[in-house]
């Protein structure tokens, strides 16, 4: 099997690099987009808690939708390719970041918040100096969850023409090339694990720097 895989790599120079870099491009773009949308939205929801209930409920529903269903549903609306895949992946990763950030900011120790207000801080200063620093570990845990979810779901982008390492699997399936198929599987598994470890390491250093190491 290993020999077959190496032979395939030799016969198809660049194919693996293309798929891998596309996979990373999809994932990184989607993660950044999800953060850009979810983080400000969470801040807004902490301030306007009347809206928060229904938005969080809607986002919880979004979180339950299976990744393939979400990706496939984009197809009739936006077609195939890179951008529709990124949009679907962004929607897929958004709930984890939004819910974690909102919970983290809202459930900061109320005594600390009261102390801040007592010192004359405005709500915005409370947010900046108290809520965000104390909430950082949980916020980062949300980002980590979203990152792993997005990298995993990006495998399925192959089905809507988004490319990525999933394409090695689908191509291998289509041509019954077991070597390509298994290579795709191994590559995706390795990438998912690497992402998990990378973000676990980042989360650990975030916790250490905010003095809340578990």
């Amino acid at each position: 099997m290993l020999g077959d895989i190496l032979a395939w790599l030799a016969d198809h120079p660049g194919a693996f690099e293309t798929a891998a870099s596309r996979h990373l491009a999809l994932s990184i773009t989607a993660l950044i987009a999800a953060m850009a949308l979810a983080l400000p939205l969470a801040l807004v929801l902490v301030r306007w808690h009347h809206a928060a209930g229904s938005v969080i409920a809607a986002v919880n529903v979004l979180r339950t939708i299976p990744s393939l269903a979400l990706l496939a549903a984009i197809l009739p609306l936006l077609g195939t390719g890179f951008l529709p895949s990124v949009i679907a992946l962004t929607l897929y990763g958004l709930p984890a970041i939004l819910i974690n950030t909102h919970t983290a900011l809202r459930e900061v120790d109320p005594d600390v918040v009261e102390a801040g207000l007592g010192q004359g801080m405005t709500p915005r200063q409370v947010m900046r100096r108290i809520r965000i620093p104390l909430g950082l570990p949980v916020i980062f845990a949300g980002i980590r969850t979203a990152a792993v979810q997005i990298v995993s779901a990006a495998t399925l982008a192959a089905f809507i023409g988004g490319g990525g390492l999933g394409e090695l699997i689908t191509a291998g399936m289509g041509t019954l090339n077991i070597a390509e198929l298994v290579l795709g599987g191994l590559a995706v598994a390795a990438l998912a694990m690497a992402t998990e470890l990378f973000f676990a390491g980042l989360e650990w250093s975030v916790r250490r720097s905010t003095g809340l190491a578990a």
Binding site: M1, V61, T64, I65, P66, S67, L68, A69, L70, A72, A73, L75, P76, V148, V151, S152, A153, T155, L156, F159, I160, G166, I169, G172, M173, I178, L181, V182, G184, G185, L186, A187, V188, A189, A192, M193, E196
Partner: protein, 209 residues
């Protein structure tokens, strides 16, 4: 919408296949996870080892796991159910072990004082009190399995994913929509109903305490 109504029998069959896949996998997962969870609940070293192995399996994305199982198990329902079971082990074993561990020590002591043997204590006290946490784990597992089973259609396991894939290859939006919506509804329905069960159990066990 009209396509969905005209072909409701097709959708019904797919839905049935999907539910059977998930139900079979769930039963098998519980059969494996319960002994593992009980065994590792109060054995930290074994617990960590089990969590590591099942954690690695959980990190592998669905399609990749199918690809890796293909040389050994081929296509069809067998590899699909195998992957579904492997995925669910992390969460189920973890929740079962944690649920048992969190039974208050005073209750364990009281039971021992009353002459309960280990197995009777497990069945009569530890497991019933651990039930809310276990059901929480089952809830996450079922939602995850519904999602993975959707992808399993790609390796000929049937289910609602089949409708989605057909829609993609036939460039038929109505099929994609019908498959995607039905799968989502199934996941949401399972999540909500298990949430209710979990809530009832939490209320019941806190009353008992």
């Amino acid at each position: 919408m009209s396509w969905a109504i005209e072909n409701y029998d097709l959708l019904a069959v797919a839905l049935g296949e999907h539910i059977v896949l998930v139900a079979t996998a769930l039963v098998l997962s519980l059969v494996i996870a319960f002994p593992l969870g009980i065994w590792t609940a109060r054995r930290p070293a074994l617990y960590v080892a089990t969590m590591t192995v099942t954690g690695v399996l959980y990190t592998i994305p669905a399609l990749a796991l199918f690809a890796l199982l293909l040389p050994f198990m081929g296509l069809g329902k067998a590899p699909a159910i195998t992957a579904l079971v492997l995925y669910s082990l992390l969460i189920l074993v973890r929740n079962i072990a944690i649920g048992i561990r969190e039974v208050p020590a005073e209750l364990i002591e009281a039971a021992d004082g009353m002459g309960y043997g280990k197995s009777r204590r497990l069945v009569r006290i530890e497991l019933p009190l651990a039930l809310p946490v276990i059901v929480a784990g089952i809830r996450i597992t079922v939602v995850t399995q519904i999602a993975v089973a959707t992808v399993a259609a790609y390796i000929n396991a049937g289910g609602l994913g089949d409708i989605i894939f057909q829609g993609i290859t036939q460039d038929f939006g109505a099929k994609i929509a019908a498959g995607a919506v039905l799968t989502s509804l199934l996941a949401i329905a399972a999540d909500e109903s298990l949430k209710l069960v979990e809530r009832r159990l939490r209320a019941a066990t806190s009353e008992r305490l």
